[in-house]
Symmetry: C2
Subunit: 270 residues, 2 copies
């Protein structure tokens, strides 16, 4: 889960998502619209009978909220909530499991703020079934070939690994950048990501206001997406001053056509 605003548990219920399946929560910064769902979520998980640890990653200030909640409301819950402070000035590996890595993305907002880059680990190459059949390669060798081995036939001919396999599916990646002022230098960290979610609080006609409040405009988010060569951009976190979000979409698409608007319940397949 990434950020947890007020009512997150109600929204999850509405969209049929399982709260119990959350293992890790990544919090960008300690502002209410990104954390006020945590108090209720932690309590509801206990009511649901959770025993598995819940890991929460975020700037140190989020730890203070958790300390307060755990001390004041949840001294007796039946599972552990573990906080992992994230250094908001570093681009660093903060989480890793069998299939993904998560790196922090240093952001700049009115309070310490951090983005998150989720990357699938590279997969193994795919076996070319027809070659396996043609050379009569035993099933026991398939894992070796996936791992990079060639095959030597009975007459001593070496069939190179590349002829036996097709390349692995390219790893997918998702980056989340919110809240932050426009940071052109992020293009290196974000280079080529499959999907970038970036805040776009204002239309560019309010670029000065964006700068002052440490937010980004639609045009700026799209410029970053273009410069980083991402595949797709999703913009969100719109100010209530934006009367028609399609204005913001048009502004962004003029720079980076493959842009979509975030909306409640949106599911993006990558």
């Amino acid at each position: 889960m990434i950020d947890c605003g007020e009512g997150a548990q109600t929204q999850m219920q509405k969209f049929g998502l399982s709260m119990m399946s959350i293992g890790h929560v990544f919090i960008s910064h300690n502002h209410g619209d990104h954390v006020f769902g945590l108090p209720g979520l932690i309590g509801t998980l206990d009511l649901l009978g959770r025993t598995a640890e819940l890991h929460i990653h975020g700037p140190q200030q989020v730890g203070e909220l958790l300390d307060f909640l755990l001390h004041t409301y949840y001294a007796d819950i039946q599972y552990r909530v573990l906080f992992h402070p994230v250094d908001t000035r570093q681009h660093a590996l903060i989480y890793e499991d069998r299939s993904i890595t998560v790196h922090s993305i240093p952001l700049e907002h009115r309070v310490p703020s951090i983005g998150f880059l989720f990357r699938e680990k590279p997969g193994l190459p795919h076996i070319r079934r027809e070659m396996i059949d043609a050379f009569n390669i035993p099933v026991s060798q398939i894992n070796n070939i996936k791992a990079g081995a060639s095959w030597t036939t009975e007459d001593g001919t070496v069939i190179p690994h590349e002829r036996l396999t097709t390349p692995p599916t390219p790893p997918r990646s998702f980056a989340y950048c919110s809240d932050t002022v426009y940071l052109p230098k992020l293009k290196d960290i974000l280079a080529g990501v499959t999907l970038l979610y970036h805040e776009a609080t204002y239309l560019h006609e309010r670029a000065l206001r964006a700068e002052q409040t440490r937010h980004t405009t639609g045009l700026q988010a799209a410029t970053l997406a273009r410069d980083a060569g991402v595949e797709r951009l999703c913009v969100g976190h719109f100010s209530a001053t934006i009367k028609d979000e399609d204005d913001l979409l048009r502004e962004a698409q003029a720079v980076f056509p493959n842009t979509i608007l975030a909306r409640e319940g949106l599911v993006v397949s990558i």
Copy 2:
């Protein structure tokens, strides 16, 4: 506003209620399902440009939550949030204005908990227009007569106040009791209230569980309503273990027929 669970601001928006018109919030006890809407509400009121003071009444523990919120998130808001601690052991006047009084109702729950009794102040009697006309009483005298004066005609006849007026509309009252174990002694404080909202977390078949968790059953809430001679009872705060809330309604109505179930968005006219 009475209690403020997570998502209260969203619910108010959904039901077309104005957050800005809230002057006083009465909080029964410092459990998440009664207070986790406060963090977001306080912030949204600031975003909406509030300048008027917001008064929050509740057990001292609620003050600790407010201290944390105001210190951590809202050091810079443009209006004042004032906390008024309520002694949860006293039945006492805690608020009064031109038209109503609010008294505390001592409850007993796992943490300090307090109910609230809202009473209209007695109104003035209604003028009998036809008597005013018959005796040719000048408009300037109407307020005196409402306040209790009689009228003396030119020939010296005294028309008593009672002939010139009809009695005032009986003051209405609303009592809110949640969360609490069943407290039969509340019947004196609650005597004759127009509408009693009382928690009924469990069916009476789980009376032991209710006692242990310091909650009330449907049958107990109805017994209290009957013994206090209230006009109407609304029960709510149902446990998720109640599969069919109509079971609870039938249980309560068997003792106190004029019972209704609380549900989202319910409006009760008193």
